[in-house]
């Protein structure tokens, strides 16, 4: 034991990787053995996408310490950029996996650009003012995509804004039709692709957090003025975290979109952003494994509650409130502490927590 003593952070990180791998293997085996219901199988890809969304938002909320209410906007940019790319490359790249990878990269790039654009005004602001600008950004993206038309023919891609003025050659087709979104997506996202994206996101986030830059970012979160006074470049580091977060959300958006039959702009609205924020807060800010479990659990939960019929969403709301109350209840956490305290040697710093 003593020889292989990792520090606490690395241990948590390895446990997180381990948990994802184990869950993936277990679910793959269950899926292969026909033990999963159609409902569960259908949810595997969205769960992966939501997990990556939660991880990326946790980078903004937990690590950078800024509240974002428009994370679905980045997901939307990634989803539409990726899905249009995949549709355009349908014949050029026959392999689904490769096409998905290219689409994800494009999706991530577009989302990163959006991240830079919104990062410039956003990072000047603080607290709720920052939150409202991210909310505004999400709404703007929704409104623009609702008015965007993209078609494709032998001559390449054609786009128009507000009104569909596209004239296509024989054999062409519309990919994105404003409010109708992208109606005919060829699904190429797989659970394996989702798993790879989750692992990749974890690698990126852990490496960022454990680097010099990551420590600078967390110093900014904990005390901006103190951090600034020791010469940390606020804008640069904030931007770094924010854009990484946006790019990951873009890739998650592409993964999500390519696992759906159709996507529309209004799917990625304020409620979607809030949903992702719920994952992060429930799982714990800055705690990546918490985000993974919370995203998976809360995505499955509404499906499990179908037995309640009309009362389903009411029960969901009650569960959400009770979980928030329970996880923040001193008596309850004291009880669990005692329960688990027996199995685990007390460590320094427990009292402080």
């Amino acid at each position: 034991m003593k020889k292989l003593r990792l520090n606490k952070t690395s241990r948590t990180n390895f446990l997180t990787y381990g948990m994802v791998v184990v869950l993936f293997v277990v679910l793959q085996i269950m899926s292969g053995g026909g033990m999963l219901s159609s409902t569960m199988k259908g949810q595997l890809v969205p769960i992966c996408a939501y997990v990556v969304m939660a991880l990326s938002l946790n980078l903004t909320v937990g690590v950078l310490g800024e509240l974002s209410l428009g994370h679905a906007g980045f997901m939307s940019v990634g989803a539409f950029a990726g899905a249009v790319t995949a549709a355009a490359l349908q014949n050029a790249i026959p392999s689904g996996g490769l096409r998905l990878a290219v689409a994800m990269i494009i999706g991530a790039l577009f989302a990163a650009v959006a991240g830079v654009l919104i990062g410039i005004p956003v990072l000047r602001l603080r607290g709720d003012y920052l939150a409202i600008v991210t909310l505004a950004f999400g709404e703007i993206i929704k409104s623009i995509i609702n008015n965007l038309y993209i078609g494709m023919d032998a001559g390449g891609l054609h786009a128009s804004l507000i009104n569909n003025t596209i004239v296509l050659e024989e054999g062409g087709r519309m990919i994105l039709s404003g409010p109708m979104g992208i109606p005919g997506i060829t699904k190429i996202s797989t659970f394996t692709a989702g798993f790879i994206l989750i692992m990749l996101s974890l690698v990126i986030i852990f490496n960022l957090v454990n680097s010099r830059a990551g420590r600078a970012i967390m110093a900014l979160r904990d005390n901006r003025i103190a951090a600034e006074s020791v010469g940390i470049n606020v804008t640069q580091y904030k931007m770094m975290a924010f854009v990484t977060s946006a790019a990951l959300a873009g890739a998650a958006g592409t993964l999500f979109a390519m696992g759906q039959n159709t996507i529309i702009a209004s799917k990625f609205d304020f409620n979607q952003s809030i949903l992702i924020l719920v994952f992060v807060v429930l799982g714990g800010q800055g705690r990546m494994w918490g985000s993974i479990i919370a995203a998976a659990a809360l995505t499955i939960l509404p499906e499990l509650l179908r037995g309640f019929a009309d009362y389903r969403m009411l029960v969901y709301a009650i569960v959400l409130i009770l979980v928030m109350l329970a996880t923040n209840n001193p008596t309850l956490s004291g009880f669990f502490s005692r329960l688990f305290g027996r199995f685990r040697k007390p460590q320094k710093g427990d009292a402080a927590r």
Binding site: A131, E139, L325
Partner: protein
Amino acid sequence: MTFLNHLISGISLGSVYAIIALGYTMVYGIAKMLNFAHGDVIMVGAYICFFAVASYGLNPIIGILLAMLVCTVLGMLIERLAYKPLRQAPSLAVLITAIGMSYFLQNSAQLLWSANNKMFPSFLNFGGTTGISLFDGQLTIAWTTLVTIAACVIIMIGLTLFTGKTKMGKAMRAVSEDKGAAQLMGINVNTTISVTFAIGSALAAIAGVLLCSSYPILVPTTGSMPGIKAFTAAVFGGIGSIPGALLGGVLLGVIEIFAKAYISTQLSDAIVFAVLIIVLLFKPTGLLGKQIREKV
């Protein structure tokens, strides 16, 4: 004349945002939490008034008072059950609970009162007309608009006086500055926050009735979109600032209508929020927000 008409529509829409934003900003200013369930308390208030007036034939004034009573109790109940246990928890935990509460209210409303649209009765008719007609009918100002604006101004003045002059109001300001210090000074923090929610919820009931008087379709989701817009308006005006909520609300409404009228109805949502971002770039704490000096 068209310009004036648009301006009036804008103010009319804005005053509805403003009255909701007043409740938002009140609760935020004192309890320091974004109460996302505020929009849904508005919806409940509107339903209560609807049933009182349309189903039981009560006088609209009694309907409004009843709605205020129910909402006050509801608001205090929500605070007691869902927010009070989280007083020591991180602010985001409270935010999520508020969102849970918002889902809860919406779904309860649907189960109780069905998802069917209800048409809110228009009882703001004076002398059989729905509004004042000026310049040979070229310009109309609806009574609801006038009443809403009047209500906004009265509530704004009332709240400012209340927080400035009364003992409870001073206690509220003390709590908003520093909960710990306020407690040491002998202020009952729990009661103070409870009263804040009571007032905020009573305002929500009035807002609900006025919202539905102007835009009379009532469904369980009626409160959610105006709630978000009002939150935007409150931040726009400087969250926590009572006059700021009024200003932010009215400006947001006017910008929304002007964007539709003079630029594009298709892109109006984008334009409204773009203007908001630009304004916040120059006024990072909103129009009338307090400039907070940070201590090292």
